[in-house]
């Protein structure tokens, strides 16, 4: 009898696996281990769907090359919201319908008013505070202004530390300041980023003031930036929230604050670096999988351990109460800057702005000329 049961079970198992559909999912950025465990749970609850999870080190590079070589796309891929323009222009992804999510996430994944992704999570820019260096210096409140920010940086500098760290030529940081002087958005005309506006010039002047005139901000390259904060060289550090788990693992004495607002009360909107799943075909298994991973329970599980801001409203509400970090992140999200998803923004804006800032801040090119050239470059390629 046992043999019969065994054989029957084996046949059943083989039948289940033979009719199981397989979906390929390209995943990137942090949380590889955490996502794998969610996939494992999915396998338990959905034995007829197999997920072939592939971790991609540089998603946009992989997508571009696949596009160029007419290669095979997966069923699902996790992308950044500003990659959508390229993918929709190439007509390789499918619109999604009825995905319920927080408004700021919904707006992130719209192209021509059509939603193209299952929003998953976002990293949001915050100001990291090195509490150990604030000995006797009051830590500003979350409602702080640019003047408070400058004063704090000045005191830190006078105490022999770096006031604030950020990368001066990176659009990732500049975008927030640029939007602050442009009514909370990156200006565009007919889908083309516009970098020659008075607001953008004001933002660049503010950079010059912080870096070159008052010298309270210091710019390092990639690796050094994070390490300077870890090794307590800097009091404040502007960066995405994705570093929180690393700093917690190191037992750093730190906290985070939202970006300050301008002295006129207008916020400096932190960049919402949102990621969502795009689908490349109408495979129903892919939709089942995405419904599962974007459910409140699973989002809370993933984002809770990786310190991401979940797209699912219930998960966001629940995590928002979890600790001070999530509270600040949720607070920051209220003023967040949603980056344009246009192709021109992704392909041209970053390179042009980075070059402009480098030349202007190093004194090699006057402000107006630098931004005029940036605009010419962007407009030429439209």
């Amino acid at each position: 009898m046992k043999k019969v049961i065994l054989i029957f079970s084996l046949i059943l198992l083989l039948t289940v696996f033979s009719i199981a559909s397989t979906i390929t999912v390209w995943f990137s950025w942090e949380g590889q281990k955490e996502f794998q465990s969610i996939v494992n749970e999915f396998h338990l609850t959905h034995p007829n769907i197999r997920v072939n999870l592939v971790y991609i080190p540089n998603m946009i590079q992989k997508l571009r090359i696949t596009l160029a070589s007419n290669g095979s796309f997966p069923d699902v891929a996790l992308v950044r919201n500003d990659d959508l323009g390229m993918l929709t222009a190439a007509n390789v992804i499918k619109p999604v319908k009825g995905v319920k999510t927080a408004d700021v996430f919904y707006r992130s994944f719209l192209v021509n008013k059509i939603e193209y992704a299952y929003p998953y999570y976002a990293d949001i820019q915050v100001v990291y505070i090195n509490k150990a260096l604030f000995n006797g210096i009051p830590i500003p409140k979350s409602s702080w202004t640019l003047s408070d920010f400058e004063k704090t940086a000045e005191v830190l500098k006078n105490n022999g530390h770096i006031g604030v760290l950020l990368q001066k030529s990176s659009p990732y940081f500049f975008d927030a300041f640029n939007a602050a002087f442009n009514n909370g958005i990156i200006p565009e005309k007919n889908g083309i980023p516009w970098v020659n506006t008075p607001g953008t010039l004001k933002a660049a002047k503010l950079y010059n003031y912080l870096f070159n005139e008052r010298k309270i901000a210091v710019s390092y390259e990639k690796m050094a930036l994070v390490n300077a904060f870890k090794t307590q060289k800097a009091g404040m550090f502007m960066m995405g929230s994705f570093l929180i788990p690393d700093f917690l693992n190191l037992n750093l004495d730190f906290t985070i604050l939202p970006y300050p607002s301008l002295d006129n009360g207008k916020p400096i909107p932190p960049v919402l670096d949102s990621k969502g799943f795009v689908i490349f075909n109408d495979n129903p298994s892919a939709k089942k999988f995405l419904d599962y991973v974007t459910s409140a329970e699973m989002e809370e599980k993933f984002c809770g351990s990786t310190y991401k801001l979940p797209a699912n409203e219930n998960a966001m509400r629940s995590l928002g109460q979890k600790n001070a970090f999530f509270k600040t992140m949720s607070l920051s999200a209220k003023n967040a800057l949603v980056l344009p998803s246009s192709k021109a923004f992704k392909e041209l804006y970053g390179k042009a702005v980075s070059t402009t800032l480098n030349l202007y801040l190093s004194g090699e090119m006057p402000l107006e000329e630098a931004f005029r050239k940036a605009q010419e470059y962007i407009s030429h390629h439209k």
């Binding site: 390929t24 390209w26 990137s28 942090e30 590889q32 281990k33 072939n52 999870l53 971790y55 080190p57 540089n58 590079q61 571009r64 090359i65 596009l67 160029a68 070589s69 007419n70 290669g71 095979s72 997966p74 390229m86 190439a90 990293d123 990368q167 030529s169 990732y172 390092y220 390259e221 990639k222 690796m223 050094a224 390490n227 300077a228 870890k230 090794t231 060289k233 995405g240 994705f242 570093l243 693992n249 190191l250 670096d273 392909e347 041209l348 390179k351 042009a352 070059t355 402009t356 480098n358 030349l359 190093s362 090699e364 090119m365 630098a370 050239k373 010419e376 470059y377 030429h380 390629h381």
Partner: protein
């Protein structure tokens, strides 16, 4: 798709025309490999440059895209930057490698140990050493150990000379092992009698180098040296990982392109890939770069033959004029030096000896003009035509001269200098290894490093790699790729190289391999991916293995062919008279003798396969197939906007280096003695 098949058909005909007379039984395998992976993608790229090409739709536009590329001032500037950089890299690489080779030869003890130290950078995958060096050099905003030692800031994102020279140094550091090996091999071809004579004549080290070693080794090592120069011209990874093409330059901020101080042509085309989806335009830029490479190849080809000075001078004049007209040379001023070179050619044809002096005078004027312009306009005043002329002039003035050292420097000085130099080089080899060790054993995820030992020691990083990241599986995949690549090279290159030695008709394939290797690069990866899709080789380790093999073909061929040529012909002739077939002669006579040389080729291909990074990145879409290089890249991720795990990266790098080191140890004897003593080049 019809365009794809048409190009496939036409390129097959062109390829057959070029290689048909090569003995097919021995060369077919290599020809097939080169055609699929190198030749066809080039022809495909050239074809689509005539189209506005968006995948799956093509619209014929004639010369529009090519004209766009030719008239882009950004591309001209990038070519100027690249040529200057490649020249600096080659010069430094040659000088350092010669000094190291001479030091190894002159040491009575520890020469093999020193040789292993010199070869060590080869065992560290480039993407690891570049990242580690970048952290060591730039430190915190340019403040680092090096900046303190040399008293200047090395901010690679704003200091133009620092970015330019440090990227060159890293390229030299990575290239010195192979170059030293090649030079050592060529030095073995100098007869001991000549060496003894130089000692008896009392030549000091300087005189020995100038009168004995350089004249006797340069012609032998030239093919590799020239390939190395053209390789520097295609460099991409160093710039991509170290400077991303920066620092920015006002003169490089154009409407059509943005060029920084280290925007090489490789980076330039990569940037184009990101700013347009019209692959016809990208292909057109690649074609223009290919034309420059072709002109350089023609000059290099003529440079090889010492007696054909007229061909060399003619090709220099033509290249000068073309580059001047196009805007990457000396402009209108180019007429002046060209006049000198023309007169030099006339004197040469009349067999007047002072043709060299006239040529050198022209090149001096050319150089003076370029330096003057550079003092006014910076790097944008670099002239590719001047660089070529100066190299030719230097060779002409060097040849046939007896170099006498006027300063009689005591031997003690040379010995002291040698010790200092060798210590310095050993430190440069040790520094990145120390950095990687530091990261690997550190609890903290920290880079750059600013203390000698980590503040917290752990072995956990290694166990995490095995438990959580499947390091063993990645190692297995890398090993499979390496075995496929090495076997493919052995099975294709050896018979083809033998056929070329046995019959002059088969040598044509060698020329095609060089041609294909020069034009392949970042820009041919896309058509290659299309071909792989067609052949169902995407997402397979076999595909990666044969792609690596094809890309190692040129150097493997030119490591093996001269070696096989140096085997006395009478052996082959005697066997022929005895009725031995070609296959028997190849396997019974040449194969056993060639084992040391094949070992070097094997090690070279192993390194290429082990370090291979771009192919897996593009062609693999399955986690279980990822090799070590991809696994390590995953740990860094998209740095800047994501979280990099440097300590795990360090641990993985150490394990990787240990495995490669084991291969080195196993084949140590063959590398340090076998090939060297047989004159492998």
């Amino acid at each position: 798709m019809s365009l794809f098949f048409s190009v496939l058909f036409v390129s097959a005909i062109i390829f057959l025309f070029l290689t048909a007379r090569a003995r097919p039984f021995y060369t077919f395998a290599l020809a097939f490999l080169i055609f699929l992976i190198s030749f066809f993608p080039i022809i495909w790229g050239a074809t689509i440059s005539f189209f506005d090409f968006f995948p799956s739709s093509a619209h014929f536009v004639g010369l529009k895209n090519l004209s766009l590329a030719f008239t882009d001032p950004g591309l001209s500037l990038s070519i100027k930057i690249t040529s200057m950089w490649a020249l600096i890299v080659l010069s430094l690489k040659l000088v350092i490698s010669y000094i190291l080779a001479l030091s190894i030869l002159s040491l009575k003890k520890f020469s093999k140990f020193l040789y292993m130290i010199v070869l060590t950078p080869w065992a560290i995958p480039a993407y690891i050493s570049i990242i580690v060096w970048t952290a060591l050099i730039s430190g915190y905003g340019g403040e680092s150990l090096f900046s303190k030692l040399l008293g200047m800031n090395f901010n690679l994102s704003s200091n133009i000379p620092a970015a330019f020279l440090w990227t060159a140094f890293i390229s030299v550091w990575l290239g010195v092992p192979m170059m030293t090996m090649v030079i050592l091999s060529s030095m073995q071809t100098i007869s001991p009698a000549l060496k003894d004579l130089s000692k008896m004549e009392g030549l000091d080290p300087y005189e020995r180098v100038m009168n004995l070693y350089l004249p006797n080794t340069l012609p032998i090592a030239f093919p590799y040296i020239f390939l190395s120069f053209l390789g520097s011209f295609k460099e991409f990874t160093i710039f991509f990982l170290m400077t991303n093409g920066g620092p920015s330059m006002a003169s490089g901020f154009g409407e059509r392109s943005i060029v920084g101080a280290t925007t090489s042509v490789g980076v330039f085309i990569y940037n184009k890939f990101y700013s347009t989806r019209n692959y016809g335009v990208i292909a057109a830029y690649s074609v223009v770069v290919g034309v420059v490479m072709f002109i350089l190849l023609v000059i290099g080809w003529n440079y090889r033959f010492h007696r054909k000075k007229n061909s060399l001078i003619v090709s220099t004049i033509i290249a000068h004029a073309l580059f001047d007209l196009w805007g990457v040379g000396s402009g209108m001023f180019g007429i002046v030096p060209i006049l000198f070179y023309g007169i030099s050619l006339i004197f040469f044809s009349k067999r007047a000896m002072y043709f060299k002096k006239i040529f050198v005078a022209g090149a001096s004027i050319d150089l003076a003009h370029m330096l003057f312009e550079m003092s006014k306009y910076g790097i944008s005043a670099v002239s590719l035509s001047t660089i070529i002329s100066v190299i030719v002039a230097l060779t002409l003035s060097f040849e046939g001269k007896i170099h006498v050292s006027f300063l009689k420097i005591p031997n003690l000085f040379w010995k002291g200098a040698k010790m200092v130099w060798l210590s310095f080089w050993s430190i440069t080899v040790f520094l990145p290894i120390w950095s990687v060790l530091f990261m690997a054993f550190s609890k903290n995820n920290i880079i750059p490093i600013d203390s000698f030992f980590p503040s917290s020691f752990t072995l956990a990083n290694f166990s995490i790699l095995f438990h959580d990241y499947g390091f063993l599986n990645a190692l297995k995949n890398t090993l499979i790729i390496s075995i496929i690549a090495i076997s493919t090279v052995f099975l294709t290159i050896f018979p083809a190289a033998w056929a070329a030695v046995d019959s002059k008709r088969a040598i044509r394939l060698g020329g095609v391999i060089v041609f294909a290797s020069l034009f392949s690069g970042m820009h041919t990866l896309i058509p290659l991916a299309i071909t792989f899709n067609f052949l169902h080789l995407m997402n397979t380790l076999f595909g990666i293995g044969i792609a690596v093999a094809a890309h190692s073909a040129a150097i493997s061929y030119f490591l093996l062919y001269p070696f096989l040529s140096s085997i006395p012909k009478n052996l082959n002739e005697a066997a022929k008279l005895d009725g031995a077939s070609g296959f028997v002669r190849m396997t019974r006579i040449y194969l056993p003798i060639a084992i040391p040389s094949l070992t070097t080729v094997g090690i070279f291909v192993l390194m290429e396969a082990w370090n291979s990074f771009i192919f897996p990145l593009i062609f693999l879409s399955s986690q279980r197939l990822y090799p070590v290089s991809m696994m390590l890249y995953n740990l860094i991720g998209e740095y800047g906007t994501s979280y990099s795990q440097w300590n795990l990266f360090g641990a993985g790098s150490i394990l990787n280096m240990v495995v490669i080191g084991m291969f080195f140890l196993i084949s140590r004897k063959k590398i340090t003695s076998g090939v060297i003593s047989k004159g492998g080049i």
